[in-house]
């Protein structure tokens, strides 16, 4: 008897504890489908941590429109089919008002039709340009596109007077997409792609491909590697092994601490375009992004006990753009929130300054990318 009372008391206390912070009304439900496990986990894991962390902080600060936020998060394991199933569940069972997430281009593309049909705003955290081109009414994204990465690299190449370039890319979604974009825009920058080599997702040795690039008639003046994950680390090591003697460019896909650790001394001198978050401390004090990126970095690192990555930053940007839009719309109606997201101007995120419009559902320009060089085992701002 005494025991039952105790349990009853505990349950009552728990209910009370749950009820106190929730401010009278039902919470606002925000959905998310991320690749927390699987091959893209190094992207999805920091994204999930960021969303949980900041939704809790927003609730502690009083929520949005006087209501608590509630995150409904599913892990698709990198599988596009599962992502689509979870997307349907978010719409039909969980009745979320907006969705942040979709870690990879593949999972995002699989989910877009579901959210478009339900008229639910969807902010993807994936890189592929196909997500926002052509523009879809309810679909947005926060990360830079691979096309911008190519353009940033080519701009830097032109500055250094290098025009003959070898391209080596992974055959996975990211690498294949960036390869296409680079091939497409190279001409606009007067850059000539004289070698175009590829490697598979699990490949462990790229010296044959690099040897081919080195032996191209007329030679190459620089090499670009389009991929993320362990591939670029192996390419970088092979590059040093073969003593290629020209600059190596990586993509924003390697913008995490683990790349430098895996590539070791071979990473020295490698350049890549990346978000300002990577070099937060080195930004000039009058840089508009300085305050935002420093704050995110400190908050993330002090609570998660791991170094910040730009991928978590994309989740931060997506959530904050959404929250501000809900506040401006003063409503949880999908179309009104969409209109408010579209009207985002001068939002300063970790990825850059965001100016959305009816024709631009990402809102970033090339200034959002910084050219970074790895020197002394750490990121150094080049320009």
């Amino acid at each position: 008897m005494q025991r039952r009372q105790l349990i009853g008391g505990l349950a009552g206390a728990a209910l009370l504890a749950l009820a106190t912070p929730s401010l009278a009304q039902a919470p606002i439900r925000i959905g998310s489908v991320l690749s927390v496990t699987g091959p893209a986990s190094f992207l999805g894991d920091p994204e999930a941590r960021t969303l949980r962390l900041y939704i809790e902080r927003i609730n502690q600060a009083g929520g949005v429109l006087g209501r608590r936020l509630e995150l409904v998060l599913y892990d698709d394991g990198g599988d596009a089919n599962r992502a689509r199933t979870f997307a349907t569940r978010l719409v039909e069972d969980d009745r979320v008002i907006a969705v942040v997430g979709g870690t990879t281009t593949g999972t995002s593309l699989a989910m877009i039709p579901v959210f478009e049909e339900a008229k639910i705003p969807f902010i993807s955290l994936a890189g592929g340009i196909e997500i926002i081109e052509p523009v879809k009414p309810f679909t947005f994204k926060t990360p830079h596109t691979d096309k911008m990465a190519c353009e940033k690299i080519f701009t830097d190449l032109r500055k250094r007077g290098l025009t003959r370039v070898g391209l080596i890319s992974g055959t996975g979604g990211f690498g294949a997409s960036m390869r296409n974009q680079c091939l497409r825009v190279a001409g606009d920058f007067g850059v000539q792609i004289v070698a175009d080599e590829r490697y598979g997702p699990g490949d462990t040795d790229m010296t044959p491909q690099l040897t081919r690039i080195r032996n191209v008639p007329g030679g190459v003046q620089a090499v670009i590697n389009a991929d993320f994950g362990q591939g670029p680390a192996i390419v970088t090591r092979n590059f040093a092994q073969l003593n290629m003697g020209v600059p190596l460019y990586q993509s924003h896909g390697v913008a995490s601490r683990s790349f430098i650790e895996l590539a070791g001394a071979a990473a020295e001198g490698v350049r890549l375009p990346a978000a300002a978050l990577l070099v937060a401390e080195q930004l000039a004090d009058n840089d508009p992004q300085k305050r935002v990126v420093m704050e995110y970095k400190q908050t993330f690192e002090s609570t998660q006990n791991q170094p910040v990555s730009t991928f978590g930053g994309h989740a931060y940007d997506g959530l904050m753009i959404l929250v501000e839009a809900i506040k401006r719309a003063n409503s949880t109606d999908g179309t009104k929130i969409r209109d408010a997201i579209r009207a985002t101007r001068g939002f300063i995120g970790t990825g850059g300054v965001v100016n959305m419009s009816a024709t631009d559902h990402m809102g970033l320009d090339l200034s959002a990318f910084r050219m970074i060089e790895i020197r002394g085992g750490t990121w150094t701002l080049v320009d």
């Binding site: 496990t37 190094f42 040795d205 044959p208 491909q209 040897t211 040093a240 895996l262 001394a265």
Partner: protein, 290 residues
């Protein structure tokens, strides 16, 4: 010329790992007709346990030893708790059980370690050695040398020890082996243990070059299996030859034909070989007596 040499170095290094995985397949296949698809996970354990032990401050040789112990224990556990209880089931059932075991091992490793890629320092420096215009990493020599030592040790064990002879007798004819008093269950357990050790050694040798994560086992098992089939499943010499040939095929195809289709080229060659020689390069012709 230097270009060809560079491709050969690359192919042999990658091929040596395939060869060691194929050797693990061969050992267990000989003792039981089972293709152990958890073989790739032994390679993963070799790399990952060393990485984490080393990161925790254990000296590299000790960390490597620990990794071998863990992989051998895992191999024995797979045998004791997955294969042995299903004793008497046909080979296909047992193969499916090994696939289940590999998923379990990978899942547990994901919980105990993490999902990131890792490496530890190469054994003797990272400065490439120049050979006739091509360059090879010192660690590649470790991989090739290590593979040679493992193959030689295995050969000595099989040819010169009583236990090794028991393994060979079991491979030749299990029923007859049992009739002359060989404990075939023990032989199979031994095969799993030794396969675990070989896989772990391969993982330890190759991680400084190829990096490792909990998911590397799947692809290695596939490539190792292809190598074992190419060489003739059940033949240790064939396993080694098959692995090296597969590695060379991939590197030469990437170097001279097209890096996009290098895996396709390698597999087309394997299919062509198996079409002409269904038993593989070194396989013995299986005669079914009716």
């Amino acid at each position: 010329m230097d270009q060809l040499l560079q491709f050969v170095f690359s192919g042999l290094t990658v091929g040596a790992v395939y060869a060691l995985v194929a050797l693990g397949f061969t050992l267990i296949y000989n003792a039981s007709d089972v293709i152990n698809f958890a073989q790739g996970e032994f390679v993963m354990l070799g790399g990952m346990v060393t990485v984490f032990a080393h990161a925790a401050g254990v000296p590299l040789p000790l960390a490597a030893l620990l990794a071998i112990v863990v992989a051998v224990a895992t191999g024995l556990a797979v045998h004791r708790f997955a294969i042995e209880p299903a004793r008497g089931a046909n080979a296909v059932t047992l193969i499916i059980i090994t696939i289940g075991a590999s998923i379990l091992i990978r899942g547990l490793a994901q919980i105990m370690f993490d999902k990131q890629f890792h490496r530890f320092p190469a054994f003797s420096g990272e400065d490439p050695i120049a050979v006739l215009g091509a360059s090879i990493l010192p660690q590649s020599l470790w991989v090739l040398g290590g593979a040679a030592v493992i193959v030689a040790a295995l050969w000595l064990f099989m040819e010169r020890t009583l236990l090794g002879k028991a393994v060979r007798a079991t491979a030749a004819n299990r029923l007859a082996a049992r009739l002359v008093g060989i404990d075939t269950t023990l032989v199979l357990a031994l095969a799993f243990g030794v396969s675990g050790a070989i896989g772990a050694l391969a993982g330890i040798l190759v991680t400084p070059i190829t990096l490792t994560s909990v998911t590397v086992g799947t692809l290695l098992a596939l490539k190792g299996f292809a190598a074992a089939m190419l060489g003739g499943i059940g033949n240790p010499v064939g396993a080694v030859a098959g692995g090296l040939v597969l590695g060379l095929l991939e590197a030469l195809a990437a170097g001279f034909l097209s890096s996009t289709y290098k895996d396709a080229v390698a597999f087309v060659v394997i299919i062509a070989v198996l079409f002409v020689l269904p038993q593989g390069l070194f396989g013995k012709r299986a005669v079914e007596r009716v």
